[in-house]
């Protein structure tokens, strides 16, 4: 028999990038908010400057079964504990472009969003002010309309400058990378010291992770956080039209019912779908908010490529932010690929390097071992350059999240992922591989090479749309079927762009949260 708790106005599932924002906005509007987190409590003082220790922030539980030809790199992209994946994200925050929202109507590819860029722009502007973004809006010539950044751009060391030579030689433009990292004191938070430990979690407060921006605001406004709460289902009333709360399990296996007037799922792309599918009942036999049959579909990643090279210059590659220093979106045009592939690309240039870990110096050349590896490490530590190409992945219904036959410790099916990079995304990746090496050569690299295809960000699965027969949520992130159920995060994106997802996820979440507040009476009942 489950323990039943006192009802709250809103239960938010997940303390990450969007859960923390929903919690802050709803609590500041006077709502009684409880935020449930599957992982443990985490403080800034837990974030050690070490790539080895950074792995504690990533997911390991047997939670996702990946069955498709390609991996979406769930464990690397996801996170657990307070702050979720956003605790280790790199804070690279370019905006989506205007035509990212209108691909179907403009190009006949992918899907349309239920709103255009202009409708989201004010929320981008509000979020960038909340977090204290850095950048140079004028030099970022590809940027859609928006307020200037509230602070100057991030550091550019030799690393960025040397690689930028290659872009310039090929008549390609670079600009400071827009980042959610402080370059000046802001709202009591200190600026970055360019130590490159972003992936390990930033404990100084310079990088706008949830622990320093939205969770403190939520708590100050009275929101409560509950760690170690493994949410399994959204609970429904007998009519099948309203959510009554959520069920969660404690680590000891105790079932708990948390009643709530509204439910907001922000448990990241895969887990949101899993919870909705596991919430199937007689009124919703195929899962909650799945009358369209689209729940779980249009799963997307960003096919990514790391370009490495050795230069004669002292690159100062240990300085800066993990996400990089400069941006190039010259290949962002949907039809700009020389091979004819559809979609956007971008370059993030001058990523701060550490010796070890997945993106470290050693991993760029896995075939080197023995005494040669020591020599390579010494050379790389001084002379290696790094940049990453990010490509768009076309939204396809065949890429999807289902329930697996395997079950978790509480008896609920795990998520099963069937994913294969879209043909367009693969072609864009191949173009990027050749272009990246060419840029390095033009910059004077003695050697240049690229890594295998990786995957950044996980999007789709709970897509927004105008038509309830072809989407899961409406333009407010509200379920088409359950008026007091909302979803936040990159899972709501109908298309994925080539821009990093966190800024857009937050802007959309802010739009949804404000909609909830403005329409509270009708939503909460």
């Amino acid at each position: 028999m489950a323990r039943v708790l006192e009802s709250v106005d809103a239960v938010v599932v997940g303390t990450g990038a969007t859960g923390s924002l929903f919690a802050a906005v709803l609590a500041e509007a006077g709502k009684d908010v409880l935020v449930l987190e599957r992982g443990g409590e985490r403080k800034l003082s837990d974030l050690y400057s070490s790539q080895t220790w950074a792995r504690r922030l990533k997911w390991a539980s047997p939670h996702v079964v990946e069955d498709g030809p390609d991996s979406i790199w769930f464990n690397f992209n996801a996170g657990h504990g307070y702050g979720g994946a956003a605790i280790h994200h790199y804070a690279v925050w370019p905006r989506f472009h205007e035509d990212d929202f209108t691909e179907k109507s403009q190009y006949g590819r992918g899907l349309d969003w239920p709103f255009e860029y202009g409708e989201l722009r004010p929320y981008y502007d509000l979020v960038q002010k909340d977090v204290g973004m850095s950048g140079d809006a004028e030099k970022e010539i590809w940027r859609p309309p928006g307020d200037p950044y509230p602070m100057p751009p991030v550091l550019v060391s030799n690393h960025g400058n040397v690689i930028a030579r290659g872009f310039a030689a090929l008549d390609m433009h670079t600009s400071p990378l827009p980042m959610a990292i402080l370059t000046q004191p802001y709202n009591g938070r200190p600026p970055c010291i360019w130590d490159g430990w972003c992936d390990a979690g930033c404990p100084t407060g310079a990088l706008a992770n949830p622990l320093v921006v939205y969770l403190p605001r939520a708590r100050k406004a009275g929101a409560r956080l509950q760690p170690d709460a493994h949410v399994t289902r959204v609970l429904m009333d007998k009519s099948g039209k309203r959510a009554t709360g959520v069920e969660y399990f404690t680590p000891s296996g105790e079932a708990v019912v948390q009643p709530a007037d509204t439910v907001v799922l922000c448990a990241f792309t895969i887990e949101n779908v899993r919870i909705l599918l596991n919430s199937a009942d007689t009124n919703h036999p195929d899962g909650l908010s799945n009358r369209s049959g689209k729940l779980g579909q249009y799963l997307m990643s960003h096919p990514a490529i790391a370009i490495s090279g050795l230069f004669e210059d002292d690159m100062q590659n240990y300085l800066g932010a993990t996400g990089g220093q400069l941006l190039c979106q010259d290949p962002f045009g949907k039809r700009s690929d020389p091979g004819g592939a559809f979609g956007s690309r971008q370059w993030e240039i001058g990523l701060a390097l550490k010796p070890n870990d997945l993106l470290g110096i050693a991993m760029t050349r896995p075939e080197i071992f023995g005494s040669e590896l020591h020599e390579f490490m010494k050379r790389g530590a001084r002379h290696m350059g790094s940049m990453v190409g990010v490509c768009e992945d076309e939204a396809l219904p065949r890429n999807r999240i289902e329930l697996a036959s395997e079950k978790d410790q509480f008896g609920y099916p795990l998520a099963r992922i069937i994913y294969e990079t879209s043909a367009e995304g693969r072609k864009l990746w191949q173009t990027a591989a050749a272009e990246g090496v060419k840029i390095y050569k033009a910059a004077g690299a003695q050697e240049a090479w690229h890594g295998p295809q990786g995957g950044q960000h996980i999007m789709g699965g709970t897509i927004m749309g105008v038509d309830p027969s072809s989407s899961v949520l409406n333009s407010a992130g509200q379920s088409h079927e359950v008026e007091n159920l909302f979803v936040g995060g990159p899972g709501v994106f109908p298309t994925g762009s080539a821009a990093n997802s966190t800024f857009t996820a937050k802007a959309v979440a802010l739009k949804s949260a404000k909609f909830m507040v403005e329409n509270w009476g009708a939503i909460a009942g």
């Binding site: 240990y318 870990d357 071992f369």
Partner: protein, 189 residues
């Protein structure tokens, strides 16, 4: 000694950020893997033969990693809560429990050594060890259904972690470690 943030920082300032809590009898002590090896702290998961072969393989991949305690690091982490584990196997989505993967990898490598050199890993010359690693490092290599290339990648990362992933390792590369400024009180979110 309990593993606390303060003790970690203290040890970090002394040059190693890979201090782990090892059990010596009934006492828990904070040691680097190198110190655990020197003090012969009993292994928790690997048996002696597995640890010896793991060291030989890791040292062939990155000389010096055995002395710096790569086997002790891996053994310690195989006994940890997977969500808290520090192994790169986590990123490669190696199925749990990781101990099965490492036991399997060492066993397959032993079989490869016998197949190629008619010797145990324990008996390989330095040149033969390099030859074995070359076989394991063939991209996508699978032997007897086991992803031996993936095991090589994990073991290579483990070796790099203990040799270069610490402040001492950064010093060897002549780059500053630049550990973070300690957050002032009141920054606990």
């Amino acid at each position: 000694m309990k593993l606390t943030r303060r003790s970690l920082v203290d040890r970090a300032l002394k040059g190693s950020l890979l201090c782990l809590t090892f059990k010596l009898g009934a006492v828990s002590i904070l040691l680097t893997p190198e110190e655990a090896r020197a003090q012969k702290v009993p292994l928790q998961v690997l048996d002696d033969a597995q640890a010896r072969r793991l060291e030989i393989l890791a040292d062939a991949i990155l000389p010096g990693s055995a002395d710096l305690g790569v086997a002790q690091f891996v053994d310690h982490q195989l006994n940890a809560d997977p969500n808290e584990a520090l192994l790169i196997a986590k990123y490669f989505q190696v199925p749990l429990p990781y101990r099965n993967f490492y036991a399997g990898g060492i066993a397959v490598a032993e079989g490869m050594a016998k197949n190629s050199f008619e010797k145990s890993i324990d008996e390989l010359s330095a040149e033969e060890s390099q030859g074995l690693i070359k076989e394991m490092a063939a991209p996508g290599a699978v032997v007897d259904g086991f992803p031996v290339f993936l095991f090589y990648m994990c073991l290579r990362s483990d070796a790099v972690d203990v040799v270069y992933g610490t402040p001492d390792g950064f010093k060897k590369l002549n780059v500053p470690y630049m550990q973070h400024i300690l957050p002032p009180e009141g920054w606990n979110g």
